[in-house]
């Protein structure tokens, strides 16, 4: 085995730039996933059969098919249908955002359901109406259940983000492949970006743990 990292040195800035590209679209995707996920979760905890149905079908579709398929459909099929080219970035944030929303909505729903039913009854018995009950009593407690799982979802999304390389988006992964093709050596660039992914996930994990600790202070 002969590893030679000297050859990738000129490409390092090119690969490092990929960090921001990856983080940028992961961040936007998380944001979309979070907002849409919250809306879907709110649908799921209503009493309306229609809203619950919509949210459940949505979740079932996005969790029940491969993410790479969803990405391909958005990137290749939508332009074919509409004649309008939406580009790699928009395709990527749509696929990841919409997909993540399905998981996020389930995480939030489960987190809310896990709050002791007695809390709702205590609030109801005091005459507290739905909105303040959710805002001041249920959600603050649900957040403690939700946050660790949500952090996991973001970590998964960060790692899975590498599949946008398949639609030619110039993320970390794609850049490693380009460098590999350029210098006829794949191991070094792959190892290099692998380390970067690991560091990103490590930092995310630490941030999550810190947030959790802050939340647990009232316990």
């Amino acid at each position: 085995m002969n590893l030679d990292f000297s050859q990738i040195v000129p490409y390092i800035p090119f690969m490092i730039e990929g960090i921001w590209v990856t983080l940028g679209f992961v961040f936007v995707s998380i944001l979309i996933g979070l907002i849409l996920g919250i809306i879907l979760a709110l649908f799921k905890i209503t009493k309306s059969k229609l809203l619950i149905g919509v949210a459940d079908v949505y979740t079932s579709i996005f969790r029940g098919t491969p993410l790479i398929l969803q990405l391909m459909i958005i990137y290749f099929a939508i332009p074919q249908l509409t004649g309008y080219d939406i580009g790699a970035f928009v395709s990527a944030i749509m696929a990841f955002g919409l997909n993540s929303a399905a998981y996020v909505s389930e995480i939030i729903r489960a987190g809310i359901m896990a709050v002791d039913r007695g809390q709702i009854e205590a609030a109801e018995a005091l005459g507290v109406s739905y909105r303040p009950m959710m805002q001041n009593i249920i959600l603050p407690q649900a957040v403690k259940n939700i946050l660790p799982a949500l952090m996991n979802e973001f970590i998964t999304l960060t790692k899975e983000s590498a599949i946008v390389s398949t639609i030619g988006y110039l993320d970390l992964m794609r850049r490693a492949q380009i460098v590999g093709a350029d210098i006829y050596r794949n191991f070094e660039p792959l190892l290099f970006v692998g380390a970067i992914y690991w560091v990103m996930v490590f930092v995310l994990t630490k941030l999550g743990k810190a947030a959790e600790r802050r939340l647990r202070q009232s316990d």
């Binding site: 205590a122 005091l126 005459g127 507290v128």
Partner: protein
């Protein structure tokens, strides 16, 4: 005044309350007793609409609260409830627990609500715990906070669902004492309890439920000393 007329409650195919009618007068203290699963909690929870009766009606001060169009929250403002397992808000301090509903429901200012809360916490003997979180309290202390929380809404009626059943024996008295103080203020109280001595001592009336049926209803003296039905005699023989 609370008036229940022919209350029936089904959970699916299971009928847990069967045609219960009774009247609870203003200022009366009523103890509901009976074997486990007889429907005591369900009946109590019908009174503040945490459960909706399948049929029958409940009137509070002649207002039909089982009306479909009734504003449940408005009714509940006037009826405090204390649960077996306290259900304090764990992310709020003791003071916040008690001052929360007056602010959100009655729209009192924080200062006003906290002043009411402080007074009540003083009454239940917890002035030194106002800043503590519920998980730092003993069961008896938690239940006293829960009572103060319900009283902060200045309800006309208080409902208690086995308020001492989840407590260690040495903490039962402190909670019963707080309840006795409340009896002395003339509060209308409906108490589901297994504390027979307490019922004997403070209740004006005892309701005995078995299998969803209101089997006997009467003054504690009569009921405990001369139960009329065999069902009540059996039950008392077991618990006394």
């Amino acid at each position: 005044m609370i008036k229940a007329v022919n209350i029936t409650k089904d959970f699916g195919a299971n009928t847990v309350l069967k045609d219960i009618s009774t009247t609870i007068n203003h200022g009366e203290v009523v103890a509901i007793i009976g074997p486990s699963g007889s429907g005591k909690s369900t009946f109590l929870r019908c009174l503040n609409l945490l459960e909706e009766p399948t049929s029958g009606n409940i009137f509070i001060n002649d207002k039909k609260i089982t009306d479909k169009k009734i504003d449940k929250l408005a009714i509940r403002k006037n009826i405090g409830m204390v649960f077996q397992h306290f259900h304090l808000f764990p992310h709020m301090t003791v003071l916040e627990n008690v001052a929360y509903a007056p602010q959100k429901v009655k729209k009192l200012s924080k200062t006003e609500a906290e002043s009411i809360a402080n007074k009540l916490l003083d009454k239940v003997g917890l002035t030194d715990k106002v800043a503590a979180y519920p998980n730092r309290l003993s069961g008896g202390q938690k239940q006293r906070v829960a009572i103060a929380r319900a009283l902060a809404m200045e309800p006309e009626i208080m409902l208690f669902d086995e308020p001492t059943s989840a407590l260690d024996p040495e903490m039962v008295k402190e909670v019963l004492d707080v309840m006795k103080d409340l009896v002395d203020t003339g509060m209308t109280m409906v108490i589901v309890t297994h504390e027979m001595n307490f019922a004997k001592e403070v209740a004006d009336k005892v309701l005995f439920l078995a299998d969803g049926v209101l089997v006997e209803e009467g003054r504690p003296q009569e009921f405990f000393n001369h139960p009329k039905t065999e069902r009540a005699q059996d039950f008392l023989a077991k618990v006394l």
